[in-house]
Symmetry: C2
Subunit: 296 residues, 2 copies
C-alpha cells in the first residue's frame, strides 16, 4: 500500500468513507457560467474558458450571464461540425488537451436525444453530464465470505495512473447501449466473455459533480454486480490495467476507508457496493449521509 | 386486485414507478413555518397548527418566521414534560389525534442525541424527521426465479387499512437500536425468529417528504433484505396483518407499477429492491430519476 505517511496519518480516521463523497462533490459554481441550449441548462463552463469560446463568434454567444450556441446552429450535425472546429482550434492554441477520439452525447438525461456530441477530452471543460459503466466482480467463497476483484490502472493512464480501480469501468460513448458498452468493456479490460458479462446485474447508479483543473465533472456511473466463479481470473487486453487482485471485501473496505488509493470515483462505486451488501451498516454514523451523498 | 377502474385506467402507463416517488415527495413548504431549536431546523409546522401551539406561551414562541421552544426548556426531560402537556391538551381540544403511546426521537439525524421525544401521533404535526425499518423477505426458487413475501394490512389499521405492505415494517421508537427494532418487528409481524432475522442484510435506506392532512411526513426507512427458505411461511402475531402472500417478483413489480395497492412508502422500498436486484434496469427511462428520487 503506497501512501504519503504524514498526510495519511492526518487523514486516517474510523470514518473516512464520507470524505470520498465530499471530494467527488467539491465544486464552486461561482467559478462557472451556465451553458444553456434551447432554454435547458446543459453544463457549467469556467469563466476563463468561456472567454476562449466567445472568441468564436459564429458558434458561441452570451445570453445574460449564461453562454449558449449561435441560433444558426440548429441541428445535431451542424452543431457537431461547428463545435468540432472550435475544439480543434483550441487544442492548437493549447487551451484543450488532445482529442480522445471518443464522442460523448451532450444531454441532460441519458434517455433523451443528445443536443450534440463532444470529444471526451473536452467534456469537463463544458461541465456537461457524462455517463459510464462500472462493474463489481466478486466471488463468494464456500465459507460465505466475499472476495472482490480489483484492478490497478496502468502507469501510463492519462487519469489516475497506477491507482486502484474497479475490475471493469469505462465511459459511455455516443451510439452504444449501456449493456453493449458493459459487454465491450468487460471483454477489453478483463477478458470476461459475453456469456458471462450478460449475467451482470444492474444494481443502480452513483453520481457526483467535481471541480477539476479542466472544469467540472458531472458524472453518472451505472453500477453492475457480477458473481464470478472461484476459478475465474481476469486478464487485461487493452493495456489499461497492469494488475488484478482478488481481495477479501473487508480488505477493500479498509483501503477505501483509510485513504486515497482508488481512483476517486471508484470509491463511490465501492461504498455503494458495501452499503448494498451490508458491509457498511445503519449504525455507521454517516450511513444516511453516504446514501444520499452518492446521488448528486 | 382491488382498484377504482376509472382512475386506474387514467393512471396506468408503462412507467408509473416514478409516480410513487412523486407522490411521497409532494409538499409545499409555503404552507408551513420552520420549527427551530438551538439554531437547528428540526421540522415544519403548518400555519394553522402553529397558532394552536403559540397559545401555550410558556412552551412555544415565535422567532422571526420560525417557531421555537421557550428558552426555559433546556433539558431533554423538561422539554418532554412541557410538550407532553401541550400534546395532551391539544388532543382534548380535538386538534391532535389520540396518543399512540410510542415515543419517537426528535433529531436531525438518527446518529445524534434527540432534542426531545414526541408521541408518534404528533410527529407529522411537527414535521420532524421519523425513522423506520422495512424488510424485503424473499425466496429464491430452484429455477433461479425470485418470490417476494407481501403482507396485507389489517382492515382496522389507522393508516392505509387493507393495503398491501412489506412483510415486516415499523416505526423506530426512541431507545431501541435499529437492529433490535427489526428483530422485534420480525417477531411480532411475521413470527420470524431472532436467529433468522439477524441474518437480514442492511441494504440502504429510502427517504421522502410528504404533505399529509396532519402535516408533513419526513421519513427515512432503513431497508433490509432477508433470504427465506422455501418452506418458510410468515404468521402474524400482533393483529396488524390480515394475510401474507408469496408472489413472483414480476407480479409485485406489476402491482407497484400499475397502481396504488401498496401503502404509499412501501412502493419506494419495493422500487429500491427492484433496482438493486436488476428488475428495473438502466434502460428504464426514469432509472436515474428513480434512484435519485428515493433519497430526499
Amino acid at each position: 500500500m503506497a501512501f504519503d505517511g504524514h498526510n495519511f496519518k492526518l487523514e486516517r480516521t474510523l470514518m473516512n468513507y464520507i470524505e470520498h463523497v465530499n471530494k467527488c462533490n467539491r465544486h464552486d459554481l461561482m467559478a462557472f457560467r451556465p451553458f444553456i441550449l434551447e432554454n435547458i441548462k446543459l453544463g457549467n463552463i469556467r469563466h476563463k474558458f468561456v472567454n476562449k469560446l466567445l472568441a468564436f463568434k459564429d458558434v458561441f454567444k452570451e445570453m445574460g450571464t449564461a453562454i449558449t450556441l449561435s441560433e444558426n446552429l440548429k441541428s445535431f450535425s451542424t452543431r457537431n461540425h461547428a463545435i468540432s472546429e472550435v475544439v480543434n482550434e483550441l487544442i492548437l492554441q493549447g487551451h484543450l488537451p488532445k482529442l480522445r477520439n471518443e464522442f460523448y452525447p451532450v444531454t441532460t438525461s441519458f434517455y433523451k436525444p443528445p443536443f450534440f456530441q463532444l470529444d471526451r477530452a473536452a467534456v469537463p471543460y463544458f461541465g456537461v453530464r457524462a455517463f459510464g459503466v462500472h462493474l463489481n466482480g466478486f466471488t463468494k467463497n464456500s465459507n460465505g465470505s466475499l472476495d472482490l476483484w480489483i484492478a490497478r490502472r496502468a502507469k501510463d493512464r492519462l487519469i489516475c495512473p497506477s491507482m486502484l480501480d474497479n475490475i471493469v469501468g469505462g465511459g459511455q460513448p455516443i451510439g452504444l447501449g449501456i449493456m453493449e458498452n458493459l459487454i465491450k468493456e468487460c471483454t477489453e479490460e478483463a477478458s470476461i466473455t459475453k456469456d458471462l458479462s450478460t449475467t451482470a446485474i444492474p444494481v443502480g447508479a452513483i453520481s457526483y459533480m467535481m471541480e477539476t483543473e479542466a472544469g467540472l465533472r458531472h458524472d453518472t456511473l451505472f453500477c453492475f454486480d457480477l458473481k464470478l466463479s472461484d476459478d475465474f481470473v481476469p486478464k487485461n487486453r487493452d493495456g489499461e490495467i497492469s494488475n488484478f487482485y482478488r481481495w477479501p471485501i473487508q480488505r477493500v473496505a479498509q483501503i477505501v476507508n483509510d485513504g486515497f488509493e482508488f481512483k476517486f470515483n471508484c470509491n463511490l462505486v465501492l461504498i455503494d457496493f458495501l452499503i448494498r451488501h451490508g458491509f457498511i451498516t445503519p449504525d455507521h454514523p454517516h450511513y444516511t449521509k453516504l446514501i444520499k451523498g452518492l446521488r448528486f
